[in-house]
Amino acid sequence: MTHAYTALHAWADDQLTQRRSSGRARILVGLGTCGVAAGGQAVLEAVQKTIAEHMLEADVVQVGCIGMCFKEPLVDIILPGGPRLSYGPVGLSDVQDILVNVLLHNEHRHSRALAVIGDEPYDGLPAWKSLPFFAPQERTVLRNCGFIDPERLEEYVARDGYAGLARAVGEMTSAQVIEDVRRAGLRGRGGAGFPTAAKWEIAATHIARQRSNDAQAGESLKDYGYVICNADEGDPGAFMNRSVLEGDPHSVIEGMAIAGYAIGAGHGYIYCRAEYPLAIKRLKIALQQAREMHLLGTGILGSGFSFDISLKEGAGAFVCGEETALIASIEGRRGMPEPRPPYPAQAGLHGEPTIINNVETLNNVPVVIHRGAEWWASRGTEKSRGTKTFALTGKVQNTSLIEIGLGKTLREVIYDIGGGIVGGRRFKAAQTGGPSGGCLAEQHLDLPIDYDSLAGVGAIMGSGGLVVMDEGTCMVDIARFFLAFTQTESCGKCVPCRIGTKRMLEILQRIVAGHGEPADLVQLQELAESVRRSSLCGLGQTAPNPVLTTLKYFHHEYEAHILERRCPAAVCKALITYSIDPDRCEGCLVCLRACPGAAISGAKREVHVIDASLCTRCDTCRQVCKFDAVIVR
């Protein structure tokens, strides 16, 4: 360990000890985007108000997301010298009750009490890792999320943050760093799963060659090459990267600096979605702190290595997740992909060798270097090492951000961690990888989640979106939904993607509207195959995946739409009718008043009737009816 890092760690420990020895409790309010959306800001204000009113000995800290989105807003209380207790969902009316009981009356139990964030149970509260939600999880990427104040460098450092960078620049050669990443078996977490070390090696070779050419030609040496962090998380329904950037921004900065050292680059860019204002704010703070403490800039941690990072905000284009399109966007051009080779690792940004890694890939790198390749690789399977985060959403009980060792089955994720399907309904499908991924069916529930198993059934790992669907989801409509997305986001450069996805979408729109013909399915399949094979970039090559997998595993739903003019999930408007069950209707007028199209007639205590010619099938009547009297067929 370098002398500079030992000093930094001592400083961080000192800061934390000072704060902890104050004899004051610490109250942690989860203020990631999900916490804020669930009303976390108002809870924070209520916490501050309660502390002032009751003169409680407590400090308030904002933290990132621990992953229990379904229990937001979350409030944790760390007792002075004691354990950390977690409560949620905390409503405004609960705040005073919980704080006063815990801090003044030593009464820790409460209807909102969830767990102790520690190893041992405490006063009847279970240890968090024993909860069914956390027990099957393994946290490497999310090691700090929800545990540290993301706006304080010392909290990251105290948990061995920047130890990986210190080890790299202090004790290892660049080649050794790449070798460790190779031995760990780290594969890209952005979707395609390309081996990270292989990408780094290509860039390192090209940078070394340029350097020696310039030296031989007697030219002055400059910075060569770039490290880009792809934080343009564009999959609808995916927020893994956002949570890491909001909850643990330094981990990504450290990963980038190590990558820069490994390939010999002097500069990096973080390309972050503009729709993530909180992530951008926290990154800016973290970058500033890192520069002040010589973790970025000239002579990092007293070594001869220099590296700095600029932040670029994406402007909203899904295709910029593709490497060459992302580079075009940073250069100020339309984000349109280029044919490869040359790969960016050979000639990328401004023509220099460039590596582009996803947020989660870079977040893993410091762990590989600090704790060692063997430790890191002990999780996961032979070909898919390590852990992976997933945004578990849709019709699942515990909507959440989770992290598992690769190789767990879909069933374990959905039923053990996810708590099963909402309302005890029946599982129909799980969608991985967003618009580029596929839909998995019931027969895949026991499939291990790893790169190769998913690819084997036509899906992809993707960046980690995992949307659960039940019998109320129409798979033809889902295929149409994803294709409408990719069609809009197609950059228009190559014909197969620009026109092929358009024609595919038209066919799907026809089927959903009830005008499908049997021949449509044949044409859809053919088009999907050719778009997949002949598109220029990953967007077009993967756009047909949702269509191909639904055609394969849910063919009967397409047939029902076309041959019977029927939508089995009762979703596609052109194929369903609304009526009222006279045996159940109480004549309460609620649906009649709520109907925006005035399609319902009737009087008080008389059975209501829906006029099908006026009904727009907006579903309002079914949602407001307290007697389940509205029938959809």
């Binding site: 959306a37 609808p236 100020g332 339309r334 909507t399 959440s400 939904f481 907006c618 309002t620």
Partner: protein, 165 residues
């Protein structure tokens, strides 16, 4: 022929990669990119107006028309979709009388934006009205909230008759 350059010739020109950040600055200030700003950026960066226009229209973030005074953002991410976002979008657009690709009401009061994903999937379906997130939205509730906002506006309007256009 290059367009005339208003800046002194010895001033260092920002390079082409400043184009998108400049457009973002303009958009942050005005809520859209006015025509004059487009030409100004073109002159300063020595990039043709058609190229600036090409970049501007490529990215979803940029607008060429002003925003309405009130913002309604509806999430249409996957999680929201399977939990009923299409009905929410229909309710919002129906209540505001928006048709086709129109995103701003004729009186310039409301702009409706469809967002790919807020990342608040646990609250799906989600809409954001004037910066306030409303989770587990239903079409009925959304219609009622928008009606209330419109009624509040009408009252303001009748209270200030001198303000009429």
């Amino acid at each position: 022929m290059n367009p005339p350059n208003p800046l002194p010739s010895d001033q260092v020109m920002p390079d082409r990669s400043a184009l998108i950040p400049l457009l973002q600055q303009v958009q942050a200030q005005f809520g859209y990119v006015p025509r004059e700003a487009l030409f100004d950026i073109s002159r300063r960066l020595r990039v043709s107006p058609s190229e600036v226009f090409g970049v501007l229209t490529f990215y979803a973030q940029f607008r060429l028309k002003p925003m309405g005074r009130r913002s309604v953002k509806v999430c249409r991410g996957t999680a929201c979709h399977v939990r009923g976002a299409p009905a929410i979008i229909e309710a919002v657009e129906g209540e505001l009388g928006l048709q086709g690709a129109q995103d701003t009401t004729a009186d310039g009061e409301f702009t409706v934006e469809k967002i790919a994903c807020f990342g608040a999937c646990s609250l799906a379906p989600v809409i954001v009205l004037e910066g306030n997130t409303i989770g587990n939205a239903s079409p009925d509730r959304v219609r009622r909230i928008i009606r209330q906002m419109q009624e509040a506006l009408n009252k303001e309007g009748s209270a200030a008759p001198g303000d009429s256009a």
